[in-house]
């Protein structure tokens, strides 16, 4: 297809396919373990970090990691009374406001903030691709090694310890893997739309899949197809992959939800 002959499109294609692998490896777990809000939060929390990284020229993934850790720490402190949704919501809107303030103070280019929030089609670097590939390999490895621990915990949180399966550290690995996936997805789809590649395809396949293996493989395949379609759309109407993927994956979800009733 001639649309994919340009170097930036080929790079974007590699990135989106790698993100599809991540979606396949982790999306099922995000959906089964109800981590969709967590996924979205890590992305949003990274926004102020991305603003600073952009202006100071440090690696955005690193800044995102720092911002995400800071967010996690602040959330621990703030959510003591039991309304975790409110605490998280407050910190997330605070992160967005902070990012906006830093952006208005540091540089006034509107396009810069758009790219951080919604991703970029033409601006993906070799580092971005490399880090995404590393994250994908790590996620696949962790998923293979910890599949049973994650499944047992997800299926029956009460009875899992009685099975003699480790619980605490596999849990931390899962959250770390999801956070890493979010951090590498930021470049292409932006801080506010990481769910559209990591969560929505998995939610769609979940409506149909009868076992875990087909859920995972199906998610990876669907995310890849939707991703390619989203890239084509993004290039055609001149937007970044994030919004394009949102529309594509959302439409497919709605269609499957209606048809599969």
């Amino acid at each position: 297809m001639s649309a994919f002959s340009a170097p930036y499109m080929q790079r974007a294609l590699v990135e989106i396919l790698l993100l599809a692998v991540l979606a396949g490896a982790l999306g099922a777990w995000i959906v089964l373990r109800r981590l969709a809000f967590f996924t979205h939060s890590v992305g949003t929390a990274a926004f102020p970090g991305l603003v600073v990284a952009s202006a100071w020229g440090i690696a955005p993934q690193l800044a995102a990691l720092g911002a995400a850790l800071g967010f996690a720490g602040a959330r621990e402190r703030l959510a003591r009374d039991g309304d975790e949704d409110a605490a998280t919501g407050i910190l997330l809107v605070g992160a967005l406001a902070l990012g906006a303030l830093l952006a208005s103070d540091v540089y006034r280019s509107g396009a810069g903030v758009d790219r951080l929030l919604f991703g970029t089609l033409i601006g993906l670097s070799d580092t971005d691709l490399l880090l995404t590939a590393l994250a994908a390999v790590a996620a696949l490895g962790a998923g293979a090694a910890l599949r049973r621990a994650w499944l047992a915990r997800a299926f029956d949180p009460d009875g899992v310890r009685a099975l003699g399966v480790p619980v605490a550290w596999p849990e931390r690995v899962l959250l770390a893997a999801v956070a890493a996936a979010v951090i590498v997805a930021l470049a292409a789809v932006g801080a506010l739309l990481v769910s559209v590649v990591l969560v929505v395809p998995a939610a769609t396949v979940r409506l149909l899949a009868r076992d875990l293996r087909s859920l995972q493989l199906g998610t990876g395949a669907l995310a890849a197809v939707e991703g390619v379609g989203a890239l084509w759309l993004a290039d055609t109407v001149n937007v970044s992959p994030g919004p394009a993927m949102a529309v594509v994956s959302g439409a497919v979800f709605a269609a499957v939800a209606v048809v599969s009733r």
Partner: protein, 241 residues
């Protein structure tokens, strides 16, 4: 060889507050022990204590290996993409290193023992309540533990499943295992070898003959219904799920 022995077991979820106290009992091979008590009386807490999951625990517990735990089916996820066989095989997770393929035979055999070998490939959530309970028991069988902890395995279960489960209990007794069964059914409890009455503190432990109206009154407090002849008492069934 005694399979379970506790002495003055006590503990709870918060420091300083005991959910259970003074629990002292022993389970010998081949015994089914009914754990009786009201909701919130400590039956689940006792199981947690035996599994080593209670944050604060005092007293002594001796166990012949890790017990297998059969929770109530309502707590397991019904919308999960797992088959009955997948669930049964979870019992082997603890002893199979992650890089080794799971041997399906123990799972299939366990499902056969509970009468569900034909349902092995079906989705767990699509089975009936009684069938799901049996699958969870099959999971415990795959674990091959000497001690089984069962949390109300017969509540809300259809009659054929209940009969099949009770027959299985007899088989497991014959294999020399010990079963601790939390239950609301006092009548059922009288058919087994021992009863343990728990209402925060241990009220009684012994043969079912020790279930006098006084003991039942102390165990259930206001939940007791005493029949007009004054000698029998039936615990009221609670549907808390």
């Amino acid at each position: 060889m005694t399979l379970v022995r506790t002495h003055d077991l006590a503990g709870g979820y918060r420091p300083g507050t005991d959910a259970i106290t003074g629990v002292s009992f022993a389970a010998e091979p081949g015994e089914v022990i009914a754990i009786l008590g009201p909701n919130g009386g400590g039956k689940s807490t006792l199981f947690r204590a035996l599994l080593g999951e209670l944050p604060h625990r005092r007293g002594t517990v001796e166990l012949a290996g890790r017990p297998a735990y059969v929770p109530q089916t309502e707590r397991a996820r019904l919308d999960f993409p797992v088959s009955a066989l997948d669930v049964a095989l979870m019992g082997a997770y603890g002893r199979t290193p992650f890089y080794r393929r799971l041997d399906r035979t123990p799972g299939l055999e366990a499902l056969a023992r509970v009468g569900l070998e034909a349902q092995a490939g079906e989705r767990f959530g699509e089975l009936s309540g009684g069938q799901r309970q049996r699958v969870l028991i099959a999971r415990a069988l795959v674990q091959d533990a000497q001690v089984l902890l069962l949390d109300e395995p017969l509540s809300g279960v259809d009659a054929p499943s209940a009969a099949s489960i009770e027959a299985l209990f007899e088989e497991l007794r014959g294999e020399g295992r010990a079963l601790l069964v939390a239950t609301h059914d006092v009548r059922q409890a009288r058919a087994w070898q021992r009863v343990l009455c728990l209402h925060g503190r241990q009220i009684a432990f012994g043969v079912p003959g020790c279930l006098t109206p006084a003991v039942l009154q102390a165990t259930y407090g206001g939940e007791l219904v005493v029949l007009p002849d004054g000698t029998s008492a039936i615990a009221v069934e609670h549907h808390e799920h």
